[in-house]
Assembly symmetry: C2
Homo-oligomer: 166 residues x 2
């Protein structure tokens, strides 16, 4: 008797599967909000700052690959960080297509004030670091699987290389 439980309504069970991730993300976001508000950041802006604190001067493209976001999301977000005085956006002199994002002194200084955020989130989660680390591994396994699936599936991947056939 392997998987012969009740043939539970698929559309009912499913609500519990992916919806748990969905709703947890929202609650996590609401937990971050009041903390990040003090820094004048939204959660996606905070993520961008994390990358910049690791590696200053990245291009928009590199930032997008790291965060899995495209320019349609990043361009306005970075403009807001710029007008908040945290970063500068400048074209690369060698390759004018690239826009490099560099931290201002205020942007670097914000790092110290951000250090109290992760411990606060950890406390709110009510978990040990080990438990969260373990959960992270499991979630990343699914993430990588979804990522691979998305790469192999897309209906019409432009396919051809160079030269078009007219």
């Amino acid at each position: 008797m392997p998987t012969t439980r009740k043939p539970r309504d698929v559309l009912h069970l499913n609500e519990q599967l992916c919806f748990s991730l969905y709703s947890t993300m929202h609650l996590l976001n609401r937990t971050y909000r009041p903390l990040l508000e003090k820094l004048g950041l939204t959660y996606p802006q905070y993520l961008a700052m994390l990358v910049l604190w690791e590696e200053d001067g990245v291009t928009v493209k590199a930032l997008g690959e790291r965060l899995l976001l495209d320019s349609g999301t990043l361009t306005p977000l970075l403009k807001r960080l710029e007008s908040a005085g945290l970063v500068r956006r400048e074209r690369d002199a060698a390759d004018e297509r690239l826009v490099r994002i560099t931290l201002t002194p205020a942007g670097r200084a914000l790092r110290a004030r951000a250090e109290c955020v992760p411990p606060a989130i950890l406390a709110a989660s009510g978990c040990t670091v080990e438990a969260l680390q373990d959960l992270k591994e499991q979630v990343l396994t699914i993430r990588d699987q979804l990522s691979a699936h998305l790469e192999h599936e897309p209906s019409p991947p432009p396919a051809p290389k160079r030269r078009k056939a007219p």
Copy 2:
């Protein structure tokens, strides 16, 4: 020697903790998108339909409690479902404050076409039902913890009951 690993940069480690949930949610959403597109639904609309397929005639408030969303999100979403011909929005006769959402025949019929979605997502995740079920439990544990934390924390909870002191 308990937690005496490298005192890894908190702002680096953290990026991996919550960011894994954040990015997995987005990839999951991108996996759902092409499937739901065939049904003419977005993911949040799909969630709303899941609730309605379970319990027709719910109020906007009940829907919001189930999905953890407020009227600012639900009102326009439900209006779009209505103009797509899937639901009707009507004031409750007994209590005119309430708006009840009921399925149209087209809304009920869509359920059959939605049944192929969960299996497709399961396949894309590359996991067994058991593994996902287990992961769900862990995520929900954190969700409940965050939920409790959010209820007890909010800086100024309006506090007073009835009667104001002028």
